[in-house]
């Protein structure tokens, strides 16, 4: 069974909302990524999203743009990203890893070859930002061959027809982009979250993650009320960017993620108390 499905099954039984931190591979340096991944798991991450650096990250804001540029300067390409996942897997066989990136580097390596290598490295899912459901057919067969899930985005502007199509193709989970904008924007409208998640839930049989504008423990706690998973990217990457050693990056990840996890759990338990009372 794909680790993503196993993990969400387990979380559902425990009534726990997943925390999914995003890190750009190779940022702030190539040695930081694997230790930060482990630290994130220790701080309460249930799945991990690892960004594959690309030169033209059209859907990302300044923080992830900068992270990609610095990672590329230091030589982190697809091959290096896969090596990092393989290294992580040596001491963590359970935590699902989703790679997030753009189509061109994957096509250059060859979709079939990349999928084979990704599966061998221990990757569980792929979110290719610029391959929406409309253009996904070609990759689909290769991904399926290696039991890799294809994760799709749903936006506030996604029409019912498009939502239906994404839901039909989705593997693992659907990723709801909680803002109109690029990653890291600070315009999260927490009030609109629950109805949006509800709409997706009515259309889809897979878990729903929320991300793009989540920056604070409060945002995460609110999102956890309706979603099955909360993704935190730019806010974490920004903190990692201020560190100058793998050890400092590990500390920064722990310090940032632990309160987020706590806020999500407190909210869930107060909700459970409210329900049982």
């Amino acid at each position: 069974m794909n680790r993503i499905d196993a993990r969400f099954g387990d979380l559902r039984r425990r009534g726990r909302c997943a925390l999914i931190p995003y890190v750009t591979a190779g940022y702030p340096g190539p040695d930081a990524t694997v230790p930060v991944m482990h630290a994130a798991v220790e701080a309460g991450a249930d799945l991990l999203e690892v960004g594959m650096p690309f030169s033209d990250v059209m859907a990302d804001g300044p923080v992830i743009q900068e992270a990609c540029a610095r990672a590329l300067e230091q030589g982190t390409g697809l091959q290096e990203v896969l090596a990092m996942v393989a290294e992580f897997r040596r001491s963590d066989a359970a935590t699902p890893v989703v790679l997030m990136g753009y189509a061109n580097p994957i096509e250059r390596r060859g979709v079939a070859r990349f999928c084979e290598e990704a599966a061998a490295a221990g990757v569980d899912g792929l979110l290719i930002v610029d391959v929406p459901a409309d253009e996904a057919a070609e990759m689909r067969a290769e991904l399926a061959r290696h039991d890799l899930h294809q994760i799709f985005l749903v936006a506030p502007t996604t029409t019912d027809a498009r939502l239906k199509r994404a839901a039909a193709l989705a593997g693992g989970f659907l990723y709801y982009v909680s803002i109109k904008g690029v990653t890291g924007a600070s315009t999260l409208d927490t009030a609109s979250l629950a109805p949006a998640v509800e709409r997706i839930r009515n259309a889809a049989g897979v878990p729903i993650a929320v991300g793009f504008g989540i920056r604070t423990p409060e945002h995460a706690a609110t999102a956890a009320e309706s979603a099955d998973a909360v993704v935190i990217g730019s806010a974490l990457v920004e903190r990692l960017g201020k560190t100058d050693s793998p050890a400092a990056a590990v500390d920064a990840a722990r310090e940032y993620l632990a309160p987020v996890r706590e806020a999500m759990d407190n909210n869930a338990s107060s909700k459970r108390d409210a329900v049982s009372a």
Partner: protein, 407 residues
């Protein structure tokens, strides 16, 4: 238009409903942009079939842009070259000095019809930015233009022109600080402000419907040329020549001729310092198939699939991708794509200026250079029709600098 559509049965039916030209094109963008693209596509289809809209567009093209632009027989140049007659399509005579205005007039009217109050654009040389700022000024819209900081430095005169027209110019520091990064930034703005903002993309690249829509707005060039050459010379030309950055002036000229099998078509890319190295911008001549800026097309990248920095003496050709319809025309063999390097383009810039009193844009000078090569050795009865996509006023600082002068 109906007449040419009939004649050119297969190619003009492209793109398909998903925006594909064969394997090229499509919509390789984040889901966050999909609704906006679908809304735009619906509006484009609706208004291009709306007589009142088309009448307004035609009227603006006539009275604001100054269309039709003439054909001009470059007799002195023809004599010097000693071959086929070189005929220029004078897009340099348009308002704001290039073909870019054909597209911005169309898209701005579309924005207005859709009720969008704010237009944004990317620009390299600044020509498309100026053309967008111009129509925004006329229609009373707020205008924001994204421009790589390297281009802001290279094209300071156009930056000032845009500001005079009331546009805000945002200098983009990311990546290579040129056109591709400006395009990324404009897309980011659009995703964030889709409700009130219309993205006026400046060439036939990007996600569907831009390649088809920008082509349709520029196809007036080819429709006019096809009619003019028949009226004035009694026949179709033997060859068409146009420079290719993203490919809008070239596709505008080519498209109405696609069904005319006897008319050869040559797209001229910037070979920069030479196609053998990396310092050029010739994605069709020297690139490979990949995904950039929302479509599958030929592009310039490294072996890891990262988009690489390009080089051309002309900022308007300095782009690592190309419109997907050109990729399709190349692979289908209907059009040929060639390179002209910086030196050849500069020589043609001087040649046309001195022999005809017409100073071409450095982009257009690439087409002129190849047109001269093509005409040489051909019979005097043949016609080589070159799209003079823009005038060279914007480039005099660049040319002066290259020749060691400061103005």
């Amino acid at each position: 238009m109906a007449e040419t559509a009939e004649k050119t049965a297969i190619p003009t039916q492209l793109p398909d409903a998903g925006g594909h030209f064969g394997v090229f094109g499509g919509r390789f963008v984040s889901e966050t942009l999909m609704a906006a693209l679908e809304e735009l596509e619906a509006a484009w289809r609706k208004y291009l079939a709306d007589d009142a809209f088309v009448a307004r567009l035609d009227s603006d093209l006539a009275h604001f842009v100054g269309r039709p632009s003439p054909l001009y027989l470059a007799e002195n140049l023809t004599r010097k070259v000693g071959g086929a007659q070189i005929v220029l399509k004078r897009e340099d005579l348009n308002h704001t000095g290039a073909h870019k205005i054909n597209n911005t007039v169309g898209q701005a009217l579309l924005a207005q019809a859709m009720g969008k109050q704010r237009v944004i654009a990317e620009t390299g040389a600044g020509q498309h930015g100026v053309a967008t700022a111009t129509v925004a000024a006329r229609l009373g819209m707020k205008c924001v233009v994204y421009m790589g900081s390297e281009d802001v430095r290279r094209q300071s005169v156009n930056v000032f022109r845009m500001k005079l027209l009331g546009a805000e110019v945002i200098s983009v520091e990311a990546g290579s600080k040129t056109l591709k990064d400006a395009l990324n930034e404009a897309m980011r703005d659009w995703v964030t402000n889709v409700d009130d903002t219309f993205y006026v993309l400046g060439t036939v690249a990007g996600p569907h419907p831009y390649p088809a829509m920008v082509r349709d707005f520029n196809a007036v060039v080819g429709r006019e040329a096809r009619q003019q050459v028949q009226e004035e010379y009694g026949r179709l030309p033997n060859a068409l020549v146009a420079c290719v950055g993203g490919g809008s002036n070239a596709i505008g000229l080519f498209h109405p001729f696609i069904g005319d099998d006897e008319v050869a078509m040559y797209g001229v890319e910037a070979a920069g310092h030479g196609l053998s190295g990396h310092e050029h911008a010739a994605s069709l001549c020297a690139g490979r198939i990949g995904v950039l800026h929302g479509s599958r097309t030929y592009l310039l990248d490294d072996d890891a699939g990262q988009i690489i920095d390009t080089h051309s003496v002309s900022a308007g050709l300095d782009y690592p991708g190309v419109g997907p319809e050109h990729a399709w025309l190349k692979d289908s063999g209907r059009a040929a794509y060639v390179g002209i390097d910086d030196e050849e383009a500069l020589a043609a810039f001087h040649e046309l200026t001195r022999s005809e009193g017409i100073m071409p844009a450095l982009e257009s000078a690439h087409a002129v250079a190849y047109g001269m090569k093509l005409a040489a050795g051909r019979s005097k009865d043949e016609i080589v029709l070159v799209n003079l996509s823009g005038r060279g006023d914007k480039d005099i600082n660049t040319v002066a600098e290259l020749e060691g002068m400061t103005l």
